[in-house]
Symmetry: C2
Subunit: 335 residues, 2 copies
Amino acid sequence: MQTNRQWLIAARPEGLVKESDFQWRESPAPSPGEGEVLVRSVYLSLDPTNRVWMNEAESYLPALAIGDVMRGVAIGVVEESRDSSFSQGDIVQGLLGWQQYSAAPGAALIKLPKGLPVPMTAFFGLLGHIGLTAYFGLLDICQPKAGETLVVSTAAGAVGSLVGQIGKIKGCHVVGLTGSDEKCAWLQELGFDAAINYKTENVTEGFERHCPQGIDVYFDNVGGDILEAVLNLINLRARISVCGMISQYNSDRPAPGPRNLANLISKRARMEGFLCTDYSNRGQEAFTEMIGWLMQGKLKYRMDVVDGLENAPRALKKLFDGSNSGKLIVQVGAE
Amino acid sequence: MQTNRQWLIAARPEGLVKESDFQWRESPAPSPGEGEVLVRSVYLSLDPTNRVWMNEAESYLPALAIGDVMRGVAIGVVEESRDSSFSQGDIVQGLLGWQQYSAAPGAALIKLPKGLPVPMTAFFGLLGHIGLTAYFGLLDICQPKAGETLVVSTAAGAVGSLVGQIGKIKGCHVVGLTGSDEKCAWLQELGFDAAINYKTENVTEGFERHCPQGIDVYFDNVGGDILEAVLNLINLRARISVCGMISQYNSDRPAPGPRNLANLISKRARMEGFLCTDYSNRGQEAFTEMIGWLMQGKLKYRMDVVDGLENAPRALKKLFDGSNSGKLIVQVGAE
């Protein structure tokens, strides 16, 4: 019998997540019940939303209890199947959790295609929730038009960097916000028209310099003060895609919202929230187009792969101190 | 030559508007230039947005200067016309200002129909900006469906009381917020399912009691804490029509926004601002349907007519202390 290795939630994080909020457990790997599939995880995705899942309050998913295996999206290999839709050796994705082995109902798993000209990790990038989020959050929620000004926050992140590049493909003037000069330089490599280092520059002055025509579309991953600065410069009929509010995730009592929401009225502007899961059934449409752009060299992405499940809690912190670059993934085992 | 009587802006209000922020002036009535029309005002509309117009900052209209005639929408009678589209005796509406006589370009005036089965003041209610705001702000921005729960703030106000009644016509469960027990009783007369006195009741508890199915549509006239309370109870795909943020109008530095804007994400909800002027060219559609409802007894409204232009500053304050009931109008002269 295999040994399972797991991270449990040990405590509700206060403020920034700490390694002591997790507890390591080794126990026998589960046996799949009728209709279940035993999966050995290969890659675990780390995303800002993981922090929200650790809170006591229910979000868009039920709250986890202390002692539960930490929730996480992973890709793995089917080791044993008691669901006729899956066979040993299939590659699957699902909410497998922060653990090496999981027994999951077949209905909760997605079988991934084999033989595509992309690495398996692409299912956590372009061909997964990141791609869906960037593609539909920008194109469906905001409907950007050529010549419009698009601002993206956490622009060097997995989602933000795709959003900006898709904006360029659509003919927008694209301005990204990120937290280091190295990341600013990378955004310019990606074709962004300008990048603002929000840690060293005054964001409003940056917008005034780089968005001389105002802001038509804002892809918001952070909320807070940057949202307020954007609202001061929105154009008539601006659209704000509310993808994330990372500035709010690490505090027990989130900071107040922007003082200038009334600008939505005078500018007849719209803020709209969405989740990539809303677009699961339109994945083919997005993935086909993005693979095309990738092949044409119009899309680039970076992966930040951390080796070893034991490093997952430490790695998660990178999302909140800005030290990751590109999509953050933990390699749990061999492909 | 007639004497004109005018209210000028004497000072930028700090906090609540005061009578000393206005200055009375008497001077000769103007003579219309080529293309202009001399109008004698009969009714002046007072609306919360008037307060915004007194600020130094530009809003959706250019800022006024100290010493300018206070901006206001009025209805009046054409006394003399040098624009061939208008004749003496025509009834017109426009941004005529807080004054008895104005010489306005014909192009800036709307000629009102005569002989309708409604009083002239209805052009400030159902058949004017109030009607457009309520009708399109609810039906176009929020698309309410039968069985959904609609919450309206400043529900006993001119716009709010129409919004709630239109919601009932569309089959919604309608809950109104207002500031006195007398107004709550009036809302129940209008057919609202429940009314919450936000001055004496805990708003969240009120929502929990009266919106057991959560909130699908919120018609927001106030912003601030009530918006935060609503955001805690919104359902999936909720829609928030941002009509006004009266809680913010009287302060130099508006209060922070809601701490829970991130709920827009988990609920895939939308907040959208609008101005009734966006719907000017669809007025016929709204007015025809609303006159029908009025004739069927499905819509009621109250007018609060203050006599005399000299009382306009005092009357404006009523909008912010909650002492008006129904659409607030100043009668400037005889019909």
